[in-house]
């Protein structure tokens, strides 16, 4: 990082003559992890103050789809006829978020998931007891449950499939509703908020304890003292180009899934005070390819080759493409398949190229002669037998493709008119190294006293993979634990 970024050096407590504000638990960033931490800390009896650099709470969480990855037998799952348990949930996530998922945090997350679901309901969030049973990035309905890849190979061989995408009862993006309920709950429990207030530096005492922050408010420094703990929940660093270049360059030049303020400030502040980081290169990646089209056709790389079963969770086909295959990527489909896509799942995606023969199509796509012909011949040969021995797409989607053919370009975006796009957007998953109770560790593996983190500011349950709903899910789950720990609640000590 260059000197152009705001300095994040810790400020000695001895240099702060008098703090402007004081509380027990200071929560820095009022997104989903911050709201969950604030609620629990306040409920435990702490005086809680939440800082937010924007004009109001919500952060990137409020702009999200609002999906929560929950399971193990929630009321919504049971009402929809699914018999889930924490072990199946764990087995799926360990594989889908892997390799190298954090199994300790993941075990807690799965074992506590039914309770966490009920916690959301107790906060006034409702979930309709119905399943959206079609491949999609985001259902166009108010169904409360959706599949997030649990029924796709190889995951359906590792764990009993059950849908675990839980959706607040609202149309389209539900993150705003989620955040409205969580902020209301945190404030009802006694949390005070200071908005337009951006924390810039930790305040550390002579014993290496985090005792507050220095913030900026309309260009004026303001100091905050935290008697028991500082909880950093400022989001990830997708909006910081220098940090991306240093740690996660795969996202450079692509779209950012954020509120524009995920500049890694919390990570940098803590690291400057001696905090260790973890998995800083790991990212979530979304390719704007249409699941409903892919399951009925093929996802191929620049050489016309398939590389994944097209019915996996969309985040996983996206990562399989962007991280591991030469682009551009293409969705290949035939007329019969295209016509069979329900209108509500088409999202305005139209083919960029249409051709009577694969030879024509591969020429339009700049592929070697024979590339698509070979791929489709092998696919059709096996599809006639209801098989996909290479990638194991579910039999219900297998059907030989027949002329005429079409290719859709993810770079065009879902609306079909994003001519400048790369077709790729994402956010960061790496961050501060924390215990399961959110305590931030230093480079000797010991907690920095008084310092906690949760949400995308911390490295969480993810290895190399990502599934929707795990950011809001773990942000709130581990945010709650961090809030309790910061308040000194003995119940969280285990």
């Amino acid at each position: 990082m260059s000197g152009a970024l705001p300095p994040v050096d810790p400020v000695p407590a001895s240099s702060v003559a008098a703090f402007d504000h004081e509380c027990d638990v200071l929560v820095v960033g009022f997104g989903c992890a911050g709201a969950a931490a604030a609620f629990e800390a306040a409920t435990a009896g702490a005086e809680v103050l939440a800082l937010e650099r924007a004009g109001g709470p919500g952060g990137s969480s409020a702009m999200s789809a609002g999906e929560l990855y929950l399971g193990g037998g929630t009321a919504v799952q049971r009402a929809c006829g699914f018999d889930d348990d924490p072990d199946d949930m764990f087995a799926y996530l360990a594989a889908a978020l892997g390799p190298h998922a954090d199994e300790q945090k993941l075990r807690l997350y799965c074992d506590g998931s039914v309770e966490h679901f009920e916690w959301f309901r107790d906060r006034g969030l409702t979930f309709n007891e119905s399943l959206y049973d079609a491949p999609s990035w985001m259902p166009p309905t108010t169904d409360g449950l959706m599949w997030l890849g649990e029924n796709a190979w190889p995951y359906n061989t590792l764990a009993r499939p059950a849908p675990r995408g839980h959706r607040p009862a609202t149309e389209s993006f539900g993150g705003w509703l989620l955040m409205q309920r969580l902020v209301e709950a945190a404030e009802a429990a006694g949390t005070a908020r200071h908005t337009d207030t951006r924390a810039t530096n930790l305040v550390m005492d002579g014993d290496g304890r985090a005792v507050g922050v220095v913030a900026q408010r309309y260009g004026t420094p303001v100091t905050y003292r935290a008697r028991t703990g500082v909880v950093l929940t400022t989001g990830g660093f997708v909006d910081n180009e220098e940090m991306l270049a240093d740690h996660a360059p795969v996202l450079l030049g692509h779209g950012k899934v954020s509120d524009g303020l995920d500049d890694g400030g919390g990570i940098r502040m803590a690291a400057a005070a001696g905090a260790a980081t973890r998995r800083m290169s790991v990212v979530q990646i979304a390719l704007t390819a249409l699941p409903a089209m892919l399951v009925r056709g093929l996802l191929v790389n620049a050489l016309g080759r398939r590389f994944v079963n097209e019915d996996v969770y969309p985040g996983l086909f996206s990562a399989a493409a962007v991280r591991h295959q030469p682009g551009p990527y293409w969705a290949i489909i035939d007329e019969e398949g295209y016509e069979s896509i329900p209108a509500q799942d088409l999202w305005g995606v139209r083919p960029r190229y249409v051709a009577e023969t694969l030879a024509e199509l591969e020429e339009s796509l700049g592929m070697p002669a024979g590339a698509l012909e070979d791929t489709v011949a092998a696919y059709n040969h096996h599809a006639e037998r209801g098989e996909d021995p290479y990638f194991h797409k579910a039999a219900k989607w297998l059907r030989p493709l027949k002329p005429p053919f079409a290719a859709a370009d993810p770079r065009a975006g879902f609306g079909g008119n994003d001519q400048e796009g790369t077709g790729v957007a994402g956010f960061t998953l790496g961050g501060l190294h924390t215990t399961a109770d959110g305590a931030v560790l230093n480079h000797s593996g010991r907690p920095i006293p008084g310092l906690y983190a949760a949400g995308r500011t911390a490295a969480g349950i993810h290895g190399e993979g990502y599934v929707s709903g795990t950011s809001l899910g773990e942000g709130t789950f581990f945010g709650r634990r961090a809030g309790r720990a910061a308040a000194g609640d003995g119940k969280a000590a285990g």
Copy 2:
């Protein structure tokens, strides 16, 4: 990292009553970067002390093949008839070490390469003026020059190809000879050495300046004061399983290319004192697949698919496999191809499976029926025309493969008897964030006064890719710059 690792918290200078030893420039780690730094600092007039935790100098550098990636028109290149220049060298490395190579450091490295070559000769290292002109991980001769992928697609379209692998004049692994010369030079210039001495913590003064280290020597703490600078050259972290899990899990479970002491101690010590790191997930990976076999045949993944031109630099086909393709990987060849491999390039590799038909072979390898047949049919179809439209292997290697066929398993190792191996070994490339003069930066982007790093302790010229000779090459190149800077030599300030 857990508390099981030695604590690395910085020690306040005020707590050190009297230092046991004192010097101007303290070099921590006496491998190639340390020796280069020590030589330059001592030559600039500084009193230099080099610490080494092993019983003698050399480190991982001494166990390496000794290849140096140098070019731009060295005497060896010219004697072998190659007209190279720094721009072509830069264009090749920017692509082969990319994406996201550090172009500022790379530019300096290429522009200074002829001078750096002469510096090695001035230190007594000799290079035979002959080229080994065959694909290999390491020539079995004493030729002084070798190709490192410069003549393979797509690199041969981006830069005028010239071989740049420079090899000290010795049979087999030349790292010991390189280190012998560099240590002799550093000591002749006045460097003192303390072996069996492992630095554990930086000593920082009240102004945030690195002024020395605390070390362990046969279980006893020893303190060292550095008047002008501490240079950390302790290697990477491939031997630290916890750091691998946190930052580069792709290497977990694989072989380690190191002297067994690359435990990341220098990185952790500096990070604990507020240093920023960069690209901690980036690694070098070697797959024990035989270049001489691959160029004559195919490298395929677990599904029987090619994914790279087999004549690229072996580190690049290795990374293309291990990072991006489903394994296991197989070298596929026919009898005619196998028989044509010169004995000196065969390295004891024998096929694991032999078959009269590809149908038999793909069954032995557990691939879907038709997988290898389709791959070889497409390869042969184009090879008959001298073309490889998918991956652009050089025409001289293209020839239709005919029965009988064979498959060699990289997991067997080069000797053919490493039944327990994974076929993969590597080391880490990420590390401390430094300027081109080795100054270690903090999280605000400013140098930590008195603190320098080079070699694998620092992030260097590499993006995602790796080419042999760039670790010894940049370790010595930027080690020299760091040594001059630490000595306060004004010439290095630019």
